[in-house]
């Protein structure tokens, strides 16, 4: 009997967190994207689509700032003709959209959405699968998205799609390394791969990028934590930019690069299949932001020592603090999604060789050096001054060597003229 209860609770969690929290974020971020880019460009954006109450005999329509627009978009895409060109490889062509959406939604399961809720004394974590390999699982699954994109590009049997797919593969390989290397300092710092525990740690001892409290008391961080802000910030920067590349968002949206490749890998897709690609892109963005928020910005924690107090809130035996934390998490998530959108409408697209150079020559090395720097800072209390000094000198030498190599690799060969 308890087993069935466990399974039921799991199903409730999956439905609630995936289909009631993450999936609605996709249309909401589409709406935000359209309105935000509109105000950036001095336009209005969709502000009319609402509930047509006048059709039901009421006096006024209910616009609500056009929030129903994504629903209308979805209905439109659903009703469009689902056209499959005759020259495509049908099996892969049909499989590809699903392959881009599914991984993005699977990764939801390790994200901690809030602190545990307890009802009648039984504690429930607001995470679907409390895996001990959180970030690794996310990387392993989310890099499967590239199969969808590549297959879409190849099976479409069109040159634009193919170039888009190939670009996507190359981009994914280049940035996966930076992505993995950049969070090693974070994992070293927490000594744990379980995202729930990482967030709990941040709630107790200060967010990684805002360590202003310890053990529930406000106060300036000690020297080691303060010094660790440097590698933490570098890691944050590299991780965020790599997530941009990973999700094919604007400064790195070369796979679908409209100006060069028509529509990139989804040129030949229409109707719901296109909508799935679209959804996959936005779902990846949501998950990416969720991961950044979880690792660097305290996840669900409200911060400033208030989490303990929120955790203890209860009505009878129902401790609802987790729901407040869920709201805090969603607010952080939406703010980060807005940042994604701001970047998209500010930074122009990188050229392909610039993208590759940024990934391999700059971020790869920077992430590697950052790992050593973080390790040195973390290990410092156990080491003697001589070893720390030697390590620092070695680190500076390695950094200088890396910068030198990067500059040499950039030097253009002399053009010989006849």
């Amino acid at each position: 009997m308890p087993d069935i209860l466990q399974i039921l609770i799991l199903i409730v969690k999956i439905v609630a967190l995936t289909f009631c929290v993450v999936l609605p974020l996709v249309p909401i971020s589409v709406y935000f994207e359209r309105r935000f880019c509109a105000v950036i460009q001095d336009r209005v954006g969709p502000n009319r689509t609402g509930i047509p109450l006048t059709l039901l005999g009421f006096k006024k329509d209910f616009h609500f700032f056009g929030l129903i627009q994504p629903v209308a978009d979805g209905v439109k895409l659903f009703l469009k003709e689902d056209f499959t060109p005759s020259y495509v490889r049908k099996a892969f062509y049909w499989m590809a959209p699903a392959l881009t959406v599914a991984p993005a939604l699977i990764t939801v399961c390790v994200i901690p959405f809030g602190s545990p809720i307890s009802i009648f004394g039984s504690e429930q974590k607001l995470v679907i699968a409390d895996l001990d390999i959180g970030p690794l699982f996310v990387f392993a699954i989310s890099s499967l998205t590239v199969y969808g994109i590549t297959l879409a590009g190849w099976s479409s049997n069109s040159k634009f799609s193919l170039i888009g797919g190939v670009r996507s593969t190359a981009q994914m390989i280049s940035y996966e390394i930076c992505l993995g290397l950049s969070i090693i300092p974070v994992l070293l710092y927490y000594g744990d791969l379980n995202l729930s525990k990482i967030v709990q740690n941040q709630a107790d001892n200060g967010w990684l990028l805002l360590p202003l409290w310890k053990g529930g008391h406000l106060g300036l961080p000690d020297l080691q934590t303060a010094l660790f802000l440097i590698p933490a910030f570098i890691a944050f920067l590299i991780f965020t930019i790599s997530i941009f590349a990973e999700t094919n968002r604007m400064p790195f949206d070369l796979p679908e690069c409209e100006t060069e490749l028509v529509g990139g890998y989804h040129t030949e897709y229409s109707s719901m299949k296109f909508a799935l690609f679209f959804m996959g892109e936005y779902a990846a963005m949501v998950i990416g932001s969720a991961l950044i928020v979880t690792l660097f910005l305290g996840g669900w924690s409200v911060g400033f020592g208030m989490d303990k107090w929120i955790n203890d809130l209860h009505i009878g035996s129902f401790q609802f603090g987790g729901l407040i934390h869920l709201m805090a998490f969603l607010v952080k998530l939406i703010v980060f999604i807005l940042f994604f959108i701001l970047v998209r409408w500010t930074v122009p697209r990188f050229r392909y060789d610039q993208l590759m150079k940024l990934g391999w020559v700059i971020f790869f090395e920077a992430a590697l050096v950052n790992v050593f720097l973080a390790a040195l800072i973390i290990a410092a209390p156990q080491l003697t001054a001589a070893i720390i000094g030697g390590g620092a000198v070695l680190l500076i030498a390695v950094t200088a060597a890396v910068i030198w190599v990067a500059m040499v690799s950039e030097a253009k060969p002399k053009i010989r003229r006849a």
């Binding site: 935000f36 509109a38 105000v39 950036i40 460009q41 001095d42 336009r43 209005v44 954006g45 502000n47 701001l342 970047v343 409408w345 500010t346 930074v347």
Partner: protein
């Protein structure tokens, strides 16, 4: 032609990192966004817009007072200050009309009418607003100054039949227009 060799501008270290430029870009885009959200978009005043963007929110905000003097809206028929319908159904507008939107059925004015000396008036005067291209040729060609393009631009209807403006509708939109033609007035 002499060959001009252009040198790419040398970038300093800060420009090469381009991080500052990206931050500057954020400030520019955010300032536009904030100004739009405050209802003070650049150029909103000149374009008489809603302030949220340079767009005018149409049904709530109308551009009627922004229309220029020469604006060509729906063609209409007018009566003069003495209540006489000006059209004498000469059919010049019907013949000049490029899309053939105008159809006139002429008739004679009975001898016991006050304006019997005018001799003719239209018994039916239809302008098909689906065909009309608002070129203003009818206004230009009319010898009696009877047809004018007014500033009405909201010509809508649910059916094709609704979109045909008949004589009654045309006079209703057109109204009275004084002066211009004096030949039918009584001699003093």
């Amino acid at each position: 032609m002499a060959v001009v060799k252009l040198q790419r501008p040398k970038l300093n270290a800060g420009e090469k990192i381009y991080f500052g430029a990206i931050l500057k870009g954020f400030f520019i885009t955010m300032s536009h966004a904030v100004r739009s959200l405050l209802g003070k978009t650049t150029g909103a005043k000149d374009l008489a817009s809603s302030g949220l963007g340079v767009t005018m929110q149409f049904p709530e905000q109308r551009w009627d007072n922004q229309l220029p003097e020469y604006y060509r809206g729906a063609p209409t028929l007018v009566i003069d200050e003495q209540g006489r319908e000006r059209c004498v159904s000469c059919q010049l507008c019907e013949f000049i009309c490029p899309p053939k939107a105008i159809r006139i059925t002429p008739s004679e004015i009975p001898t016991d009418d006050k304006w019997a000396k005018v001799e003719k008036r239209p018994i039916e005067f239809d302008i098909d607003m689906i065909r009309c291209i608002y070129c203003g040729m009818c206004e230009e060609v009319c010898p009696e100054q009877a047809i004018f393009l007014r500033k009405d631009y909201l010509v809508t209807g649910h059916t094709r039949a609704e979109m045909v403006h008949d004589k009654k509708k045309l006079y209703e939109i057109g109204g009275i227009r004084t002066g211009l033609v004096n030949k039918w007035n009584e001699l003093k």
